[in-house]
Symmetry: C2
Subunit: 75 residues, 2 copies
Amino acid sequence: MENRLLSLFGERVRTERLARHLSQEQLASLADLDRTYVSGVERGKRNVSLVNISRLSKALNISMSSLIDFEVDDE
Amino acid sequence: MENRLLSLFGERVRTERLARHLSQEQLASLADLDRTYVSGVERGKRNVSLVNISRLSKALNISMSSLIDFEVDDE
């Protein structure tokens, strides 16, 4: 279930990034994160912290809550 | 700014926990987390991960997004 959560978050970040025509490099720079970290997040490989959720949401100019407004069923 | 973020999250968890008349022990058990971890979260000392935000929100029976629907001004 938790891998599914990280994958969904990664997909969400990627969708929002592409909607703003940003590269991973540009998003990483805006969020003061490393590009390889952003890449790992988008591939669902990073259990992102609250501070980094906040940085990513600010860089994407959306609220933190809208960045994680999905639920993962417990299957 | 980031300490403020963790404090706000901690206050939010505490408010939701008390609203459900749960002890930290009970919330920790429901969320499959350690009680001292929950205590640290509520005191704003933990940079909580997405997986643990999900566990806490499920234990409190609220959505992840409503657990972090606050913004931290950049002062």
